[in-house]
Amino acid sequence: MSQSDGMDEFNIGSGFQFSGATIENLGASSYTLVTIALDETGSISGFERQIEDMLKTAIQACFSSPFSNNLLVRVIRFESGYRSQNGNGVDEIHGFKPLSEIDVTKYPSLTGGGMTPLYDAVYSSVGAANTYAKELVALDFDVNGITFVVTDGGNNASVATAKMVQEELALSVKGEIMESHLSILIGIDTGFGGAKDVLENFQKETGMDTFIWAGEATKGKLAKLADFVSQSISSTSQAMGTGGPSQNISATI
C-alpha cells in the first residue's frame, strides 16, 4: 500500500484498485462504507449537471445525519474511455474518505462519453467495499455497507465479467466480512428506450439486492433520488449493530 494525503492504495484484484483512508487515522469504532458509482457514458450527455447536483446534494445531506462521523464514502464514475488510463472503465473521484473530509465543491464536472462498463462499476464498487471492510474488521472495526450504482443503460464494454461481479456480491453478503451490505442499482431515463428492462435483468443476473427505476433524469426526479440516497445511507448507518441491513430503505423513489 502506498500513502498519500492520509489515503492508502488497495488492490481488489484483476487490475482493479481503490484508495481508502489510512486506517490508523480513523477515530470511530464502526463505519458504514458508502459507494456511489455514476454513469458518465455518452448517453448521459446533456444530463451531466443534474447528475452532479444529485451527487452533491446527497453527500451534503449526509452531514446532518447523527451518524455522519461513522461514514466513509467513495465516489467513482464509469465509462469505457477510462480503460486507456486505468485498465478498466472506472475512474475514482475519491476513495473511502470520512464524510467530514469531503468537499463537494471540489467534485469534478462530468462529461458524457464512451460506452457502458457496468460490470466494471459494480465490481469496483463492491470489490472495494469487501476489501476495505476486511482490513477494518481485522482491526476490530464494525462495518456495514451500502452501494449505489446509477446508470441509464446496460453493460456493453467491461473488463470485468458477470461471474466476477456475482462472486463479489455473494462475498459481500455471505462472506461475513461486513455486518450487512446492500447493493442498489438505480436506473435513470435519458431517452434510451428499454433501459428499464435491461437493468432489471442486469440486477437479477448479477445478484444485486435491489433495482430502482428513478424515471426521467429531470431536476425534480434527481432531487428525489438524492434524498433517497442520503436517507438510505442514514438508515444503513443506524442499523449498525443490529446484525442486518436497514429495514427502513424504501423500494421506490
Binding site: 490508523e24 480513523l26 477515530g27 470511530a28 469504532s29 464502526s30 481485522a138 482491526l139 476490530d140 472495526f141
Partner: protein, 280 residues
C-alpha cells in the same frame, strides 16, 4: 514515541433489564506529552445515584492527577487528598448525598519508564508483557469493597471498618499469570481493612517487555459463561494502538460473548495505556 490510551465501558444485563443506568465509567488521556493516565470507577449498585458518582470519581481523579502527579516522586496522598476535595466540593454544590458517590477508584499514570497504580475498591489490574499477561484480582470480603467517598464522612468510614472488623483478610489480591498455553496462580496477598482503606498503591517498571497496562472493573468477573481470566485475555488482545482501540475490542468481545451466553451480567469498564514498541 507517544503512549496510546483508550477506555471503554458498557452496561451489564442486570442494569439493562432493570432500567438502571450503567454505573461503571472510564476515561483516559495525557497528563503531559509523555505521561498518560487511565481511570476506572464502578458505582455501588445499592448506593444512591452512583452512575453520577462513578463519573465524578473519574473526573475528580483526573483533575487530582493533573494537579498533583509527579512522575519523579508520585505523591499518592496528595493525589488522594485533591481527589477527595473535589468529590466533597462537587457533592455539596450538586446537592448530592455521600451515598451517591460510593464508587471504586482505580487509576494508572505512566510514562515510558514506569507506571504508578492505585486501587481503591475492587477490580482487576492487568500488565501485558511480550510473553504473558499478569492479572491481579482485587476482591473484598462480603462483596463490600472500600469506596473513597467514605473518607468524606468519618462515621461512614468507621462503619465500613466495623463491617470488616472480623475479617483478617478483608481484601484479597490474587495474582495470575496467563500464558498462551496455560494459566498459573502466582501469588495471593491479603490486606487488613486498615491497609485496604489506605488504597493499594504500587509502581511498576515499564521496560521494553511491557506492552500495556490496564485497570478493569469487577464486571470482567461476571461475563456469563466466560472465565474472568479469558475475559481479561480477550479484552487486551488489541489489533492496533490507534483510535478507539479499546472500544473496538470491547465491542467485538461483547458481540462474541453474547453469542455464547448472556454477555456481561454486571456493568463492565476498562482503561488502557499501551506502550510503543521500544528497542531493547
Amino acid at each position: 514515541m507517544t503512549l496510546a490510551h483508550d477506555h471503554s465501558f458498557h452496561i451489564g444485563e442486570q442494569h439493562l433489564k432493570n432500567g438502571k443506568p450503567c454505573q461503571d465509567y472510564a476515561d483516559s488521556g495525557m497528563l503531559s506529552d509523555s505521561v498518560a493516565y487511565a481511570i476506572v470507577s464502578d458505582g455501588c449498585s445499592s448506593g444512591g445515584k452512583t452512575d453520577i458518582g462513578s463519573r465524578l470519581m473519574v473526573l475528580a481523579t483526573e483533575q487530582a492527577l493533573r494537579e498533583q502527579f509527579n512522575p519523579v516522586v508520585p505523591r499518592l496522598n496528595a493525589i488522594k487528598d485533591a481527589r477527595d476535595a473535589y468529590l466533597r466540593s462537587w457533592r455539596d454544590s450538586l446537592h448530592l448525598e455521600n451515598k451517591d458517590l460510593l464508587a471504586t477508584g482505580l487509576f494508572i499514570a505512566a510514562d515510558t519508564n514506569q507506571c504508578v497504580v492505585s486501587i481503591a475498591g475492587d477490580g482487576v489490574l492487568v500488565i501485558k508483557t511480550d510473553t504473558h499477561i499478569i492479572a491481579k484480582k482485587y476482591e473484598w470480603q462480603k462483596n463490600t469493597p472500600f469506596y473513597p467517598a467514605y473518607n468524606l464522612v468519618p462515621e461512614q468510614k468507621e462503619s465500613f471498618a466495623s463491617l470488616h472488623a472480623q475479617d483478617d483478610k478483608a481484601l484479597t489480591v490474587e495474582t495470575w499469570c496467563i500464558y498462551p498455553d496455560r494459566t498459573e496462580q502466582d501469588d495471593v496477598e491479603t490486606y487488613s481493612v486498615e491497609e485496604g482503606t489506605e488504597e493499594i498503591f504500587g509502581t511498576y517498571c515499564t521496560d521494553v517487555h511491557v506492552e500495556l497496562i490496564a485497570v478493569m472493573s469487577d464486571g470482567v468477573l461476571q461475563v456469563d459463561g466466560v472465565d474472568w481470566k479469558d475475559v481479561v485475555q480477550e479484552l487486551v488482545a488489541f489489533k492496533s494502538m490507534s483510535g478507539q482501540f479499546a472500544v473496538r475490542r470491547m465491542n467485538r468481545f461483547l458481540a462474541q460473548a453474547k453469542e455464547a451466553g448472556r454477555g456481561p451480567i454486571d456493568d463492565i469498564a476498562y482503561a488502557v495505556i499501551q506502550f510503543p514498541k521500544q528497542k531493547s
